[in-house]
Symmetry: C2
Subunit: 170 residues, 2 copies
DNA sequence: AGGATATGTCAGCCTTGTTGACATTCCAAG
DNA sequence: CTTGGAATGTCAACAAGGCTGACATATCCT
């Protein structure tokens, strides 16, 4: 319905990749790929009492050991009540521990316990394994492009988070 | 923690892109990019009584006009109860209509109404706009790689869905 | 006629998000 | 040294959107 026509506004080189149809394909590719992306960890989680929210928390606590609750809130983009529900179960099950900040005693610095690291490893092994296959099948050139487009798709603020321009605070 | 070392099992060319660290970056890129990917339609939806589930339904009914309920179930990967809750509101609000199949009268073939097409356009305009910016910023080469990696990440069955090897049934 | 298929629906449950209100502890500036 | 604001935790209530199980109806196909 009035799609498909490349908006051939600029001159020379092929802009066919900016066609509405190509963009739609890209959108659906994101949708289906994200399903695959989460499928393996989800399978592991569903046997335990955890869900994707726990995965995300564990992942980022692993990545940024010693991060504060506030920092985690900013990264995950959920409310503190929502995060707290997750963190509480992780504390109770001794996967994560919170250490009172030395400089600022109001802050809680989060760390995985040995048990927590074990779960993290199981989850990320599964997820990395799929990622590795995809990367290998696609080749370094494609991976480069993959990363470039993904970064361009992020909100600027999140892109900064991603690029690690946010300090942990101790 | 015993990461970071490239598994330099094979010989010559650089396999640095298969490093655990690089894979972790890819995983987080997916996470943050998906947030951006859904952000714009979500903003539109939150003013109405709809959510992401409605968006998905409307998208795929648009893409495959006349598809059946069963087909949609397969594509979306949810239960019929879950889909039905969504479809019912779309029928009630006259965004979607169901036509009894001509060959097989058990089937319901789904179509967007004019009103439905309007919503679809609003949503996909927003989503495509971000996609287009990302594509343009990254360039055709990168887009090619982006698509290649995403396809490699899908479950094989979903990849077939994506590549459109599934007929609609009328 | 009878089994299989496509769809719809009721009821109930879970996870994970939300808002609002409030308490505690601690830092930092006046 | 007091006081406002920051970082955190918690209670309660609610909503969206998944899920299972059970059942009903219409239709097709053998």
């Amino acid at each position: 319905m009035a799609e498909n026509m490349p908006t051939n506004s600029s001159g020379g080189e092929s802009l066919l990749y900016l066609t509405d149809e190509q963009l739609r394909k890209g959108i659906e590719a994101m949708f289906f790929a994200y399903r695959g992306f989460t499928a393996d960890p989800d399978r592991i989680l569903e046997n335990m009492d955890y869900g994707r929210a726990h995965h995300r928390a564990v992942h980022f606590i692993h990545r940024s050991a010693g991060t504060t609750v506030g920092n985690l809130l900013a990264i995950l983009g959920v409310t503190k009540q929502s995060l707290n529900r997750v963190l509480r179960t992780l504390f109770d099950d001794e996967l994560v521990e919170a250490r009172v900040g030395k400089k600022d005693k109001r802050e809680r610095h989060l760390h995985l316990t040995e048990k927590g690291r074990a779960l993290e490893r199981a989850l990320s092994d599964a997820q990395r394994s799929r990622m590795r296959s995809a990367y290998r099948a696609a080749g370094p050139q494609a991976v480069q492009g993959f990363r470039t487009v993904l970064e361009a798709m992020m909100d600027p603020e999140l892109r900064r988070q991603f690029q690690g321009l946010v300090e942990t605070g101790q």
